[in-house]
Symmetry: D3
Subunit: 69 residues, 6 copies
């Protein structure tokens, strides 16, 4: 499946925390670059996300803001 | 200003494309890791975003999806 | 690729309108059920989206609101 | 009230799961077409969402991605 | 129609700028409090949004971030 | 840090509710104008959000819808 999302970033799962409805997944995309996702718990479980798994962070370009110092 | 957004990723602007209302900004966070943002043109102009500028991509964790192969 | 997005809805593209930065894509998921997406023009072009194409609308569950009459 | 959201899809609630802060609501828009929403628990309760209720899924067009096989 | 969105803020339209696909709408919710929305041009036109019109800004709670100084 | 988000609205925290993964934060921007945010619990804790704290609601313009009566 090919996605319109412009941001598909490869990484490795470093932490998964489950809540009742949502789960927090932390992905390491590169040394020092971590990406945090909140997805439904059902998705986290159905994707078998666990520490060490290969995964992608997917972000629609319109969800990205830019900041400058 | 300290933000609740869990994802604040440092990079360098590599391309800016302006539309009438929105602009597309491409940031390089690491070699081979590019992040694309669609922001309003007024924001792009007021932040002086141009090729070579230092900037951060900011993404709320709830806007991030996860995919696996 | 398997996605955490809970909503992956199959349909057929019925209209594509291009702007400078964004494109509007209308998908028919079922008779009388149309879904409208705004994606970047580059994505629309790279996915070869045109009238009649098979495609999926993908929506993260946290982006869906509920309304009642 | 008339909304700018381009996607307002009629359906019937088939499942509600409550967490501490958020609730997951599954709506059936057509046979085989289910839409999942994560909304705050307070909203789910104030809208009296329960199995069998008529409801609408509301999605802003900029939150919809497109995928092709 | 009653919405799950927790933020429905009353205001007056102070400016509308049209692009090919999207329009930018600025609403004044209170003296000194302006809210900017990017919606599809078709929505802006079908809602007859123009300077001086009464309108509401609608924002899902999961789309709001918090910042502190 | 200067943000591309067009909506940065000053207020005072009036309520914080914690879930396992997410927290709900209610900000009062003006008398009668409250803004509700769902952020990760870790963000709420790291920003020391508590009743009475000064804070800003930050919303990307593309996340704002418009409604009219």
């Amino acid at each position: 499946m090919k996605l319109s999302a412009r941001n598909v970033i490869k990484g490795k799962v470093v932490k998964v925390t489950h809540g009742a409805v949502n789960s927090e997944v932390i992905l390491e995309a590169a040394p020092g670059v971590q990406i945090v996702a909140i997805i439904t718990r059902q998705s986290a479980e159905s994707l078998n996300l666990a520490e060490g798994a290969d995964a992608f962070a997917v972000v629609k370009a319109s969800s990205v803001m830019i900041a400058v110092e």
